[in-house]
């Protein structure tokens, strides 16, 4: 990608990886098919050619292996960026993430640490086979010691990934694959990281706050457009970093609008949206003029692709929920 030309979200990821690898020789990339193949989504395309097979490692086909090696390398001075090929294959990594990555610093009082990034192509909507479409961020958000990040634009993908790689602690970096190539944006390759604990207000509004992350940012922005046509002013917040949560930004918005619709594609029950609603129930109750609404995946598995779009939150569902909050008050 020629510097200066707009790039997609996935290209921004590649650009961030390349920047980080140039800047810090401890950074390396590992995963299944990340080498000569450049990853099944091409996130690591070209990296092995530039940095060689000792910086871009294909692994044996085992996620436990990837997670365990990554933890071990991170504790011994490397800065590994591991890839889970798809969201649905992250489960065998959880043991090493929860029991070790998230705990090395705590367990050893800072003697050993685990500065690693786990990249997880995330979510549905790409007509992929089974297990390739899961929104499982809630597996990580209750786990102390982790950071959980999800970009929703090429610029944020670049800045947040650099921040994740530089962070001294483990970061789960989930990539909304549905918008990997949705649009292009100018992303200067300047090595500027973005903060890892900030929500982004993408659109100002005064009547209702739409809170979301990942691929649903697009639907929320479209819903805000649709609502505007009906004279309803919606503020749109991209959570971006789920853990630790920048609740003050959300609270401030809800203080202004009095209404909140939380949108995510994971199943509703005990999805991360619950945490945001809970914080509102604890800290913003007097600001709310209408019940909180959640527009989410249903409490069932995302279906195979013939039905998957009926499972996911849609602009219509978001608009309807926003209107309910208006009607309620």
């Amino acid at each position: 990608m020629a510097d200066g030309a707009p790039i997609t979200l996935i290209e921004a990821i590649t650009q961030a990886l390349a920047y980080a690898m140039r800047a810090d020789e401890r950074v390396l990339v590992l995963g299944e098919d990340v080498g000569v193949n450049g990853g099944v989504f091409r996130a690591t395309a070209g990296l092995q050619q530039i940095f060689g097979p000792e910086r871009v490692l294909d692994t044996p086909l085992d996620e436990t292996t990837i997670a365990g090696l990554t933890v071990g390398m991170a504790a011994q001075g490397m800065r590994p960026v591991a890839e889970a090929q798809f969201d649905g294959f992250v489960y065998p990594m959880i043991d090493h993430i929860v029991c070790h990555a998230a705990r090395f610093r705590y367990r050893t009082r800072g003697r050993l640490t685990c500065p690693m990034v786990l990249r997880v192509p995330w979510g549905g909507g790409i007509r992929a086979p089974e297990h390739h479409s899961e929104a499982n961020e809630a597996m990580f958000t209750n786990v102390p010691g982790l950071r959980v990040v999800m970009p929703s634009s090429p610029q944020r993908a670049y800045g947040l990934l650099l921040a994740a790689i530089r962070d001294e602690d483990p970061v789960i970096y989930m990539e909304p694959k549905r918008i990997y190539r949705q649009y292009k944006e100018l992303v200067p390759d300047d090595g500027e990281a973005l903060p890892l604990d900030v929500c982004y207000v993408l659109r100002d509004g005064s009547d209702v706050t739409l809170v979301t992350w990942g691929a649903q940012v697009k639907e929320c922005l479209e819903a805000a457009d649709a609502l505007a046509k009906d004279g309803i002013s919606a503020e749109v917040i991209d959570v971006a970093t789920l853990k630790p949560l920048d609740f003050p930004t959300i609270a401030e918005s809800v203080c202004k609008t009095g209404r909140c619709v939380i949108v995510h594609e994971a199943p509703k029950t005990a999805g991360f949206g619950a945490e945001i609603a809970a914080r509102l129930a604890e800290e913003s109750m007097y600001d709310l003029v209408a019940p909180v609404e959640r527009v989410t995946g249903y409490d069932t598995h995302i279906p195979l692709f013939r039905l998957e779009m009926k499972y996911l939150p849609s602009v219509e569902k978001i608009v309807a929920a926003a209107k309910r909050t208006l009607a309620a008050s």
């Binding site: 000569v36 992929a128 089974e130 390739h132 249903y298 039905l307 219509e316």
Partner: protein
């Protein structure tokens, strides 16, 4: 030097690349005519495979994992098993599944993004396609444990790839099969590649069959492009398992002649020469030569059978294409035996949302 244990890995091959015998076949296959039905099924599955790819290329199927080049291994595994045995496949062993009663329309439905593809009419008890690599191996071991506990003379057979042989679940299944002496056969289908990762990058072990040694199982490597070797290897392992002799690991040496799936482009990582060389070892032409030289097959038969295959597959494709999409309620109806109240509400909501959209 004191040696406390010794092992060796045997290799089976009967039919040479040129279609002549290089060793005397086992008695069951002394008469080449016994191979004819297997050969016809190999042709059938190859024909199905190319039609499925065509469907995908024309937008009528989702991502599809081809089985080109694996026909002897797949058909042999399926043919050697008994109906009451349990098969736990990964995702491309259609040949084995067809031999057990799965219909092509079901394969198409599954890759067409419809869960009903997994609702085989026959065999009701087989495991479904398994995308999380090698997890099916432990399910097969669990099935084998159930058979053993219930004293049923049944065997559980799992397949995984060369890539899948690195997966911890495969090791776990081998370990459990050894620990409980289970009626279990782990088929490792070594087709040289796991997407872009070559076999050599998966492990330092010279054979994949030897993974069975770790669990005290019987180990065997066979030419997976030689239907006789596949059948004989399976027979030994199945007989042993059924008679209480414990589990086996069989490595089938074959080659993935196609891209990994239709979403893959193998030219990015794989040398064309290697593929060309592999075509010389592929399973169908050598068997055709062998049967032809035994006077059992000729061009007329080939073209008649090709027509028959095309006819049967077209029926299946049409059945698939005519299958209406499931109603939105289907995503709720099969989650629990008893639907929780909240889910009933969500179901009603989803149905209402559909109504609004179309109404």
């Amino acid at each position: 030097m004191t040696v406390v244990a010794r092992f060796e890995i045997e290799y089976l091959q009967y039919l040479g690349q040129d279609g002549t015998l290089i060793a005397e076949p086992p008695p069951a296959f002394a008469d080449p005519a016994t191979l004819l039905p297997l050969f016809k099924q190999m042709l059938m599955v190859r024909s199905f495979d190319s039609k499925a790819i065509a469907l995908q290329r024309t937008g009528k199927l989702g991502t599809y994992a081809a089985c080109l080049g694996h026909e002897a291994t797949h058909i042999g595994i399926g043919a050697a098993m008994r109906p009451e045995d349990v098969f736990a496949p990964s995702y491309r062993e259609y040949g084995a599944q067809f031999m057990r009663g799965v219909r092509p329309r079901e394969v198409l439905l599954y890759w067409g993004g419809d869960e009903r593809g997994n609702d085989f009419a026959v065999p009701k008890h087989d495991f479904s396609w398994c995308v999380p690599i090698s997890t099916q191996c432990l399910h097969a071991a669990g099935a084998a444990l159930a058979f053993k506990l219930r004293k049923e003379p049944r065997v559980a057979v799992a397949t995984c790839g060369d890539g899948g042989s690195s997966k911890t679940d495969t090791y776990a299944a081998i370990n459990a099969a050894g620990a409980y002496a289970l009626p279990f056969v782990q088929c490792i289908i070594n087709n040289g590649w796991a997407i872009s990762v070559p076999r050599a990058a998966q492990t330092g072990a010279p054979t994949l069959a030897q993974k069975g040694i770790a669990g005290g199982l019987h180990c065997l490597q066979v030419d997976g492009n030689d239907i006789i070797a596949v059948m004989e290897g399976m027979r030994r392992a199945l007989d042993r398992a059924r008679s209480g002799g414990g589990g086996s690991v069989i490595e089938f040496m074959t080659y993935r002649l196609h891209d990994h799936t239709t979403a893959d482009d193998a030219r990015r990582y794989r040398n064309e020469d290697e593929v060309k060389a592999a075509w010389a070892r592929e399973p169908i032409s050598r068997l055709r030569t062998y049967l032809a030289s035994a006077g059992l097959w000729d061009e007329a038969q080939e073209s008649a059978w090709a027509d028959e295959c095309a006819r049967m597959i077209d029926i299946e494709i049409n059945a698939y294409l005519e299958m209406p999409v499931q109603p939105v309620s289907a995503m709720f109806d099969f989650l629990y035996a008893e639907m929780p109240p909240d889910l009933q509400l969500q179901r009603a909501e989803a149905i209402a949302a559909e109504g609004r959209k179309h109404g």
